[in-house]
């Protein structure tokens, strides 16, 4: 069985977000890059767990990004991927990115494609859905549990106001979130092995980007906190009612 795991490079969750070039470029100064947490903690680890149960499983990682994404791809290989494909291009357009991955997915006829529920930079939650549509397979969004028996998956996913359990035959695209697996730390053996695992670089398919980012903005700064004494809670309630009109 072949699993394709999408890994994206994102700024570390503690990164200070700033922009340069008149608000058109993300300021990379001092930024630590990580594997998008949803890709790493949930979808990649779940794929590794499936491989640990069934040695015939192979895991291919796919990344759409420049050469600067290779350290995080190596880290993902250290955790447990078998091989990686980097599509040598960069874009913020979800259709462009997902169509690049869909081309890899079609060429490799994967049984299962995992994405994180979203990336923590663009927060679109859209890559999995676009891939699924382009290769015409079912899509399970926001999965919190994923079990596989033979070629049938049993999945729990978040829906409006609760969750639902469903069964579906492979092939399949799944977006994973908390609950699917638990974060792991790569061990030394994995890190050593990752150095020699194949990392193939593909040039991008000719696909048209349908959107582009014109500029970035930071939220307006808060005016400053109004402190109320702990023995004057009534004043806080008055402010919330009369000034903020929040209650």
């Amino acid at each position: 069985m072949k699993i394709l795991v999408c890994v994206s490079k994102t700024p570390d969750t503690t990164s200070k977000i700033a922009f340069t070039d008149g608000g058109t470029k993300f300021d990379e100064a001092g930024v630590q890059w990580i594997i998008n947490p949803y890709d790493e903690w949930y979808s990649l680890v779940r794929a590794i767990e499936l491989k640990e149960k069934d040695a015939s499983v192979s895991i291919t990682l796919v990344n759409v990004g420049g050469a600067d994404a290779e350290p995080i791809i190596r880290k993902a290989l250290a955790l447990g991927g078998d091989e990686a494909i980097r599509i040598n291009t960069d874009s913020s357009d979800p259709y462009y990115i997902a169509a690049q991955i869909a081309a890899v997915a079609k060429a490799g006829s994967y049984d299962l494609i995992f994405t994180g529920k979203e990336t923590i930079d663009y927060n679109g939650s859209s890559i999995g859905g676009i891939i699924a549509e382009l290769i015409d397979v079912p899509y399970i969004s926001l999965a919190t549990k994923f079990e596989l028996i033979g070629t049938t998956a049993t999945v729990t996913r978040e829906i409006e106001g609760g969750e639902e359990v469903a069964e579906v035959a492979l092939p399949l695209v799944v977006s994973c979130q908390k609950g699917v697996a638990e974060q792991r730390i790569p061990n030394m053996r994995g890190i050593m092995a990752a150095r020699t695992k194949p990392l193939k670089v593909n040039e991008p398919e000719a696909i048209e980007a349908l959107t582009n980012i014109v500029s970035f903005e930071l939220p307006p700064a808060k005016a400053g906190v109004k402190l109320v004494a702990p023995d004057n809670v009534a004043e806080l309630v008055r402010l919330l009612h009369e000034e903020a009109k929040a209650i």
Partner: protein, 321 residues
């Protein structure tokens, strides 16, 4: 050319987030001088014609019970077909769980430019530029859609619902519906709780509350306010509270009218999930807690003393009004 607005419903009832997208889509249509139409799928018990008061003239209804569960593949095909049939060039979703399942598939099917997680009306003075949240709420991006067909999903709680007058005409739409390949075997709805992303007021607790046994004071306050409850990541990780309550960069991102943080220090990852709240109140005994810098109102004090008083004062306020 028209704007088609997807009206999300569950168990026959129209979701609050649908009223937001109806208002948003109708406003966008009037900005462009085109018609605003809605589409609803599956069995509905609410009076959908009454949704005309949010600004839509017509609502397409595909009332096939195969559509009673949201199946991304089946929904996308039906909505894309309806968009083609009605001549829609802009399709609006809520960026809720349903929107996250369906909007991207619809966009791919129509080869539409997609902005997922919009937070304001598009600027159509020169092109078509949509503002969306990025970096988990730490910033915004202005995204230009360059394709003729456009799909936008709007963050819940980011556009104020306006009800006016009017009734929509209902157009029963006959579209062939595929049998879903995904077989739903169980549905567990969280009952009696207000969904976090839809709540106007959220009361949230952190490690400062010391243990799950102390959550009573927070639940009492939430009940008095009609608020949803949330928690910080360490609290979710320690299983003091269910993990679906975890708000922050790697949890749920929310934008309520009022966010009350109790015993939460305000790590940057937590702030990312809540900083779009309109009013933030922080109660923490540590005056150096970074959360105070992001707050509108604060009390430096012991949560175990302050919170019960706050509940009592709110009770008084409600009795007086």
């Amino acid at each position: 050319m028209s704007v088609l607005i997807f009206i999300d419903q569950a168990d026959g009832h129209v979701k609050k987030s649908s009223l937001e997208v109806l208002t948003y889509g109708a406003k966008l249509a009037s900005q462009l001088g085109v018609a605003a139409e809605g589409i609803v799928l599956g069995t509905v018990s609410d009076d959908i014609a009454a949704l005309g008061k949010y600004g839509v003239s017509k609502i397409h209804h595909v009332s096939n019970n195969l559509l009673d569960h949201v199946d991304a593949q089946v929904y996308a095909k039906v909505i894309a077909e309806a968009a083609n049939a009605s001549g829609a060039s802009i399709i609006i979703f809520s960026h809720n769980q349903t929107g996250k399942a369906v909007a991207a598939r619809v966009a791919a099917r129509l080869k539409a430019g997609l902005v997922a997680g919009a937070c304001a009306l598009p600027d159509t003075t020169n092109g078509f530029v949509v503002k969306k949240t990025v970096f988990s709420g730490k910033a915004f991006a202005n995204v230009s859609i360059n394709a003729p067909i456009k799909v936008i999903s709007l963050n819940p709680n980011s556009y104020t619902t306006i009800a006016g007058e009017g009734t929509a005409t209902i157009n029963a739409l006959h579209i062939a519906v595929d049998t879903p390949k995904v077989k739903v075997t169980a549905v567990n709805k969280v009952t009696g709780e207000i969904p976090l992303t839809e709540a106007d007021i959220v009361v949230s607790g952190g490690r400062g509350l010391k243990g799950p046994e102390n959550w009573g004071i927070l639940l009492d306050l939430a009940k008095e306010l009609g608020a949803a409850t949330a928690c910080s990541r360490p609290v979710g990780d320690a299983h003091w509270r269910p993990h679906h309550e975890h708000v922050g960069q790697t949890g749920v991102q929310i934008a309520p009218n009022l966010y009350i943080a109790i015993g939460i220090s305000g790590a940057i990852q937590h702030l990312a999930g809540v900083n779009r709240s309109k009013v933030i109140v922080v109660i923490n005994k540590d005056p150096e807690a970074p959360f105070f810098k992001a707050a509108d109102y604060g009390i430096v004090g012991d949560a175990f003393e302050v919170v019960p008083q706050l509940t009592a004062e709110i009770k008084k306020l409600k009795a007086a009004n």
